[in-house]
Amino acid sequence: MYIIPLLIALAEILVYPGLIFSVVFGGIIVWMYREVRARLEGRRGPPWYQTYADVFKLLIKETIIPWRAWKIGFVAAPMISLAALFSAILLLPFFGKESALGFLGDAIVLLYLLTVPTFAIIFGGMSSGSPYGIVGSGREASLLVWYELPLWLSAATVFALANSISVSGVVEEQALHGPFAIRLPLAFIAFLIAAQAKLAKRPFDIPHAETEIVAGPYTEYSGSLRALFELSEVFKWLAVSALAATLFLGWPLIGNIVADALIFIGKIVLFALIFAFIDVINPRLRIEQAGWPLWKIAAALALIDAIRVCAGLVF
């Protein structure tokens, strides 16, 4: 009686959009980023399986926990980060309109789940006991303060216009009345800037600037724990691109699950490439310079659109 829903749930968690799909697709997204970057820099770039090879190699390496580290926090941080992102992927509308675990108000939970990895990174860096980790965590925390405001403001603008706080509601509204990327262009740009910072890509890759603080919070991580963080970076990229596609490009919606899923995957690739392109053409900002584009530009743009929505000026 209950065996079929259980099997479907298992398939969703393990195959699509869960573990197997997200690992494979995330790896391809990272490969595409590296390929774009290599081409723009006049290089050839790695083979397509490079990300999997990196993660696999890290998994079979020895994991060293420094004696100065707080062991529980050090080990728990990558796991928390990965678990949160995995749950976030199950909440994203990989079936066109529906997500694997959708419920009323899941969009808010989704945004919360995407904030958890940042805290996990801060937590891991602080408990690693390395000066690079502590400085990197401090930078990650400052960056979090900068980018969360425009991110949430633009997301809230979308929720207000869609009159819904569920993922399916947001997508449905866009399918009926056109994507929010066109209806809320300023909030869309604000979201892209904030998402770039959330992904810690250039010009906001300040928390793990390798020429300054080695790998920042990741410095002391090695072996399988580092592999978990690598995977969570991959998932984060996937999830944030998917979030951008959900909130601002929910159109078109055909009605056929397979076609909708393919369109959604195409949109994720599009956003991942946009983030990759911005990453390639920018140098890194200093931490206090990062506040300027995030608050003065992104937050201001998002605020303008929020006011437009509240005043009923968006159609």
Binding site: P131, I134, A209, T211, V280, I281, N282, P283, R286, I287
Partner: protein
């Protein structure tokens, strides 16, 4: 080292660090992100080159001094050959001098483009880093075709050069120089127009003109602080007085100025190579060498990093009695401390890189007495007292 009190955290930079290719140890004391003190500790790569040089013949020393620095290898052999030629009163043929100039300036172009790539990497702009190194590949091709090698050219020798430049080769160099010029102009345009590069490098690592004089900095570091000094102009060697070029000076005194000085100098070097190819005189490649006699003299060269000095003392043998070299990094390195103070930790790598440190040429022997913890630098007198054979 001063004792630092309060809520200060010390961040080690180097000797193994992704930003610092060179093996120095910087202990940077930070209060939050602000640098309050810095401790510079070189000394990881003592190779005893001066002692080695006093056991080899003049000719073989050329190959030895090339290995002092892998990047400005030609500057080292030029300075050494000039020192020996001054010391033994050798008149070098003009054609050989012009070929030396071409290699010297090609070496400078390659060094500056390499440095620019590393500096861009320090601020996280890997795209420009790759473009700069792609441009550099053209000048590396020139050097390889001219000398047969990419790093240690071995083309200078006492009294002249070992390889000639044929007219076909000259044409090839002209073509490659066009690529380098185009690439360098593109890099200058990128640096001038990109707002983020300007935001990251302007008013960072400031070394005022007074401080620059106090620390006696040399080369592009001094020129970026508004001091107009260039050995090629001030004390022309290898016939630099024949060439028309500009000494690039910037008065911004910061990292941005150092970037602009080096990029503009690259263009000036291209100009010099073109003049040398155009006005190349005919003649011998190598002078007749005299028997050594007791004498002493110095040779100066404007290496890509600044003034390079070689001191040579000769006797009746074919082995120099004493050779002393002073590399530009040895002078510039202490100046990184005033540059670092008051800046952000995020700027530390690019400030250290901005003097173009080359520490392998820099390190001196330090003897540490483990029981008393006393450190002592071995001086010339100690060498003389302890010498076995000179």
């Amino acid at each position: 080292m001063e004792k630092v009190e309060g809520k200060v955290c010390s961040i080690p930079i180097g000797p193994y660090h992704p930003a610092l290719e060179e093996i120095a140890f910087y202990k940077v004391y930070v209060d939050g992100e602000r640098i309050v003190d810095a401790l510079i500790k070189p000394g990881f790569n003592h190779r005893g080159i001066e002692k080695l040089a006093m056991q080899r013949s003049y000719r073989r020393n050329v190959q030895l001094f090339e290995r002092v620095c892998g990047i400005c290898s030609d500057a080292h052999t030029t300075a050494y050959c000039v020192a020996v030629e001054n010391c033994l009163r050798i008149d070098v043929p003009k054609r050989a001098q012009y070929i030396r100039v071409i290699e010297h300036e090609a070496n400078r172009i390659h060094s500056h483009l390499l440095w620019f790539g590393v500096a861009m990497h320090a601020i996280g702009f890997d795209t420009l880093f790759m473009h700069s190194w792609a441009t550099r590949e053209a000048i590396m091709d020139v050097v390889e075709t001219l000398t047969g090698n990419r790093v240690n050219y071995s083309v200078n020798t006492i009294g002249g050069v070992r390889r000639d430049i044929t007219p076909e080769l000259a044409k090839y160099i002209e073509e490659k120089l066009k690529i380098v010029e185009k690439g360098t102009l593109y890099l200058i345009k990128a640096v001038k127009e990109d707002k983020t590069i300007k935001a990251r490098t302007s008013e960072v690592g400031v070394l005022t003109k007074e401080e620059a004089r106090k620390y006696c900095v040399v080369g592009p570091t001094a020129r970026a602080s508004g001091i107009e000094e260039d050995i090629r102009k001030d004390d022309p060697y290898i016939n630099f007085e024949d060439f028309d070029f500009e000494v690039c000076v910037e008065d911004t005194c910061d990292v941005y100025g150092r970037i602009m000085v080096r990029l503009r100098e690259t263009l000036e070097s291209i100009k010099i190579i073109r003049q040398a190819l155009k006005n190349m005189p005919e003649g011998k490649l190598i002078a007749d060498l005299p028997y050594p006699f007791p004498s002493e003299d110095i040779g100066r060269a404007e290496a890509p990093r600044g003034e390079l000095i070689y001191y040579v003392k000769s006797n009746y043998t074919n082995i120099p009695e004493r050779i002393k070299l002073r590399t530009p990094t040895f002078v510039n390195l202490p100046a990184t401390k005033p540059m670092l103070l008051g800046n952000k930790l995020a700027d530390a790598p690019q400030i250290i890189i901005s003097i173009d440190p080359c520490l392998t040429c820099n390190d001196r022997l330090v003897v540490v007495d483990l029981r008393s913890g006393r450190e002592r630098i071995v001086l010339l007198q100690d060498f003389i007292r302890r010498r076995v054979r000179l």
